[in-house]
Symmetry: C2
Subunit: 217 residues, 2 copies
């Protein structure tokens, strides 16, 4: 059971400004759109994607670490990973299985396949956007299991955009469209309470002792 | 005088496919929009901005190197700098003077000033978009001399986007709008010929000897 009394108690340790900021940000957060990053071995790219998720209100990022192991550093996303839920998956299979079970439509972003152009895409179902490595793009498994493809039209010699750049362009556009659509994109009541608790705990120094004191009085 | 015969002669060394690619790309190039980067000391950011300019058809980038000297490496933009004209300026003053003389409207992109939001902006005049450093943003001089401000609305805790990410989002949106507007955004006939010559020369190995042979026969 969610302990609402504990949340209210802990929120007493926050400034009004802080509490208000959490409310503002949470009101724009979504899990209707999510992002999965497959094997991106340049850390500054992964961190930039997480930062863009924070900036555009995407609450959850899935990081698949098939080949390069646990490379995602806790401190690289300029603190953004504190406010974005990063789920790690050891294989692409596990990540797609999980997302499909959770009802997500899998969209592979790729400059190569014939897919929808960004301007034509409307997000009407829960959608997970997959981004691949700079060099090789997405794996065959993602391309095979994807429900659709998405590309950003380009007019130059470059065959692809930097992954952090591609992700930001797509997220900015799709989250903006989503917020003005009739879709129920917001976090659920439960998700909102859980994030309030999570963020509040992260904002209180020595929160374990504070909770202990609360529970024993 | 532009030597059209020389161009035709040199183009004889290109494959049809290559010539066709140049035509395709040049048809989408613009100098109606240009980009100026002030003192970006993280090279991968500058290179990503140049790559985005190539991808979205912006032909010219201005790099201001006030503090960090000639840091821009020729090979960093995955080859994109070969197809994008990079103009270097030693000071912000020199860069703005030059752009104003050339009739550009100076737009400072910044998360801080109260400016227009990206979705409200229409490019109806020749426009130079200024991007600042990751840490400090644009200099006071740019903010003071700017004709307008532009920001990307954000919904999270991050106060700013990575510069390469901000530039890509803005360029993708504004170039897309521009191409469907009634504005004469295309390169002039002279600019088109010059770029054809430039790109053709860059595509021929030992081009100096080829030209020498042409001029002496």
């Amino acid at each position: 059971m969610f302990d609402l009394d504990l949340l209210k108690y802990l929120e007493g340790f926050l400034t009004e400004r802080r509490k208000h900021r959490f409310e503002q940000v949470l009101a724009k957060r979504t899990n209707f759109l999510t992002v999965a990053i497959e094997d991106v071995y340049q850390l500054h790219n992964t961190s930039a994607v997480i930062r863009s998720c924070d900036a555009f209100g995407v609450q959850t990022v899935h990081v698949i670490e098939n080949r390069f192991g646990k490379r995602l550093d806790k401190n690289i996303a300029m603190g953004a990973e504190k406010w974005v839920d990063v789920h790690r998956h050891q294989t692409t299979t596990a990540c797609i299985d999980r997302l499909k079970t959770d009802g997500y439509h899998i969209i592979a972003t790729t400059p190569n396949e014939n897919g929808n152009e960004l301007s034509d895409v409307k997000v009407t179902k829960k959608t997970a956007l997959f981004f691949g490595t700079e060099r090789d793009g997405l794996s065959g498994e993602v391309l095979k299991r994807a429900d659709g493809f998405l590309s950003i039209p380009m007019q130059g010699f470059s065959e692809s955009l930097n992954i952090s750049v591609a992700a930001a362009i797509i997220l900015q556009k799709l989250t903006k469209d989503l917020r003005t659509s009739s879709v129920q994109w917001q976090l659920s009541e439960n998700e909102l309470l859980e994030k309030r608790m999570d963020w509040t705990k992260k904002s209180i120094k020595g929160v374990e002792r504070v909770i202990e004191r609360y529970l024993t009085t």
